[in-house]
Symmetry: C2
Subunit: 138 residues, 2 copies
């Protein structure tokens, strides 16, 4: 019924992709949200909540809770920032660093699979359009 609806098709595909990436990160005991956040922290540590939230395009509240989860899993440590006592910096633990490449590779694997199915060109085109819609309406 909603074949032409951007909202419907985007949210619906998002749910399916959630399933794919859930499987990809399951071996590491991480959900997609946790894994993507950890990948940012691994790449950009030390990073503050505000920047992390911006990078992931989520609210600070959601960011706060996901960080909490990663801390409990011993993947991330909160360090008081020097400059500003209101702020924390997030750094990966050794455990996190040891799976850095595997996390990136697990995600890349799913990407390759989907690229293979729909074709590299269509893949790139749709991703870039999604990004452009996102930017346009924000």
């Amino acid at each position: 019924m909603f074949d032409q609806c951007l909202y419907f098709n985007t949210t619906s595909l998002a749910r399916q992709l959630e399933r794919e990436w859930t499987l990809a990160f399951k071996p590491y005991g991480l959900t997609p949200s946790q894994a993507f956040m950890l990948r940012v922290i691994l790449a950009k540590a030390p990073i503050a909540y505000t920047n992390l939230a911006a990078e992931l395009n989520i609210t600070k509240a959601t960011c706060s809770r996901t960080v909490e989860g990663l801390c409990k899993l011993n993947m991330v440590k909160r360090v008081q920032a020097d400059a500003d006592a209101r702020s924390f910096e997030l750094v990966p633990t050794t455990a996190a660093r040891s799976i850095h490449e595997q996390l990136d590779e697990s995600s890349a694997k799913v990407t390759r699979k989907i690229k293979k199915i729909i074709g590299e060109q269509q893949f790139n085109s749709v991703v870039s359009t999604l990004r452009s819609i996102s930017t346009s309406i924000s």
Copy 2:
């Protein structure tokens, strides 16, 4: 960091679109999930849970809860199906029927706005690609 990632860009756009459609349906006291479900019921009543879930691409569990919400809002009534004692048919109330066109129009309005921003051609192309990815990987 995830500019080329299908998962990231799809889920991220999904959250933004959620905000747009939330505003669109707010005047009717409905969330996007409720409004889309109600639109299906309005168009296809009487309809059973299983078909409704399939149409919306959600699980039966989610479907069950959303229906519950619509019943509480007096938008939908559950009717015991004649043929099968396990099954219910969902029908819209008079209140729901009275806003049928407005719901469709509210959604169409957001669609027109986004089409105007990104161009009709790109809009149609991305929607059809989303659908094709969805079908391919399911």
